[in-house]
């Protein structure tokens, strides 16, 4: 009873400091907005007042939800493609040495920057944006699945072999579960990356979506809207990350390191 209560308390407690941090950051913003009287920066209160206007606007809300749908779909496709590829790389040196150079070459290229070219081929519609999100979210998932599969103990594979498991079922039943913690670390980065790629691709394509609203507002000098959209997108990033972390902890909490925070890349 007491042990359970303590554990429940421990599970709740990590939520409090980030909440305080949130309030602290908002307070900093408020103070900064009043110190910088250049007029470009509305304060936190004014921005929050703007939120209902955006989220209440059917069209804007529809756009944002549309963006999120694309993002979720792109992320799902990325995971479905990247995990098998990463695992295969981890278990086969040939696959790894074939794929690694491609990854090395594509790491420094902003995937959203491919938008102009992909739009030439696939048009300005959903397909282009989806493809870019898939590309953007894939790299960390591939990388971590690769590292996870590489770290699987050789002896586990040997005993599976001795039991007569085939290559494919070894990958599915031994390597995948053993690499799962590492894969989920990659997914956590991947999901934030898919959000980033989503925003960036919309900002380049400028048709619909959250990124489009944000940068249109910038062009039209609607500063409250700019900041409100930043708030919305930032909150999305945080919520996705926290939700994913909760799910991850529930799935592979056994492998946890204290204070492990995923490294997020743009």
């Amino acid at each position: 009873m007491t042990a359970a209560a303590t554990r429940a308390g421990a599970a709740l407690r990590p939520g409090l400091p980030p909440l305080l941090a949130c309030l602290g950051l908002l307070a900093c913003w408020q103070a900064l907005a009043h110190l910088l009287t250049t007029g470009g920066m509305p304060d936190a209160v004014a921005t929050f007042r703007e939120l209902p206007a955006i989220l209440g606007d059917q069209e804007a809300l529809g756009d944002i939800l549309d963006s999120l749908r694309r993002m979720a779909l792109g992320f799902a496709i990325a995971v479905a493609l990247s995990v098998p590829l990463g695992l295969a790389m981890g278990r086969s040196r040939l696959v790894a040495s074939l794929v690694n150079p491609l990854l090395m070459v594509s790491y420094p290229v902003p995937k959203a920057a491919l938008m102009p070219i992909i739009m030439l081929w696939l048009g300005v519609g959903d397909a282009s944006k989806l493809l870019v999100i898939v590309l953007g979210a894939s790299l960390p998932v591939i990388y971590h699945a690769y590292q996870g599969a590489r770290a699987v103990e050789e002896k586990m594979i040997w005993s599976a072999r001795a039991m007569g498991m085939s290559g494919a079922s070894r990958l599915l039943r031994i390597v995948l579960p053993a690499a799962l913690p590492e894969i989920l670390v990659g997914c956590r980065t991947g999901i934030v990356l898919s959000l980033i790629t989503m925003v960036t691709s919309e900002m380049i394509a400028r048709q619909t979506g959250a990124g489009n609203i944000l940068f249109n507002a910038l062009d039209m000098a609607q500063y409250e809207t700019v900041y409100a959209m930043i708030l919305v997108i930032g909150a999305l990033g945080i919520v996705l990350d926290v939700a994913f972390e909760r799910a991850r902890a529930a799935l592979v909490g056994w492998s946890d390191e204290p204070d492990a925070i995923g490294v997020t890349a743009a």
């Binding site: 690694n100 090395m104 420094p108 925070i261």
Partner: protein, 255 residues
């Protein structure tokens, strides 16, 4: 060992070569209109020509200088904050939740705010690079420093080093592998984000070149900055790997 590495590298060239060959084949067979997919000969030829073009080099230099400025600030801030957070209870207590909140925020979304408060020039782009490259470096430093074997620190304290000095003489060098790993991610992120910022608002830089080419539908010109940023990233990564080999000569598990 070295031979194995060489054959790995050789195998690695294959898929790249195959990709280019496929590309060339598609173009040569007339499967794609030139306006949509230029021939690889034209693209790489133009890229090589660009490298000798002073105007192009100025653009590349604009990108590189922003990238470096942002990366260096992020490195100093990230290492400093990471070390402070791992070695000082109070700093750590404040830093952890703040980082937890800020790390998953898409920094590119903050760019309009940077533009509004710092203008369209270099400053807002550099700040964006800092904001993006900071967290991988900070987190890697923090996690590495928090995991430093306490007995290394104790050995130094027993030799008469003060607690404060031990942060520099022991925790920092012991964290170096993590710092370099974080820097590697930070550098890639810096490449990506500086390019994006230049695509959004700029009059120079590689990102601007892409947008300019896209506006006038010059497909060949669109590939050049992309190849350039990829090559730049590879070169920086190679330089960092060389630095790593030098700096981490004594560390185990470093090949």
């Amino acid at each position: 060992m070295i031979r194995a590495w060489r054959s790995d590298a050789l195998v690695g060239i294959l898929p790249l070569a195959a990709l280019v060959a496929l590309w060339w084949g598609i173009v040569a067979a007339g499967l794609a209109p030139r306006a949509l997919l230029p021939s690889p000969v034209a693209v790489f030829g133009r890229t090589l020509a660009s490298v000798a073009d002073p105007a192009f080099l100025l653009h590349a230099w604009a990108t590189l200088s922003r990238l470096f400025a942002g990366f260096l600030v992020a490195l100093v801030l990230g290492v400093g904050l990471g070390l402070a957070g791992a070695t000082n209870r109070f700093v750590g207590g404040v830093l952890r939740p703040v980082v937890r909140i800020l790390a998953p925020v898409p920094k590119i979304a903050l760019y309009p705010a940077f533009v509004l408060s710092l203008g369209f020039g270099d400053a807002s782009k550099i700040v964006l690079v800092v904001a993006d490259a900071l967290f991988p470096i900070l987190l890697a430093t923090y996690q590495g420093a928090a995991r430093v074997e306490p007995k290394l620190v104790w050995s130094a304290l027993a030799a008469g080093t003060s607690r404060r000095a031990a942060v520099w003489t022991v925790v920092l060098p012991a964290t170096l592998p993590s710092i370099l790993t974080g820097s590697r991610i930070g550098l890639v992120v810096a490449c990506i984000v500086v390019f994006l910022a230049e695509m959004i608002t700029s009059t120079d830089g590689l990102g601007y070149l892409l947008v300019r080419a896209a506006r006038s539908f010059q497909t060949v010109e669109m590939f050049v900055p992309l190849i350039a940023i990829s090559a730049l990233g590879l070169a920086l990564n190679g330089a960092l790997a060389a630095l790593r080999r030098r700096l981490l000569a004594g560390f185990p598990n470093e090949d």
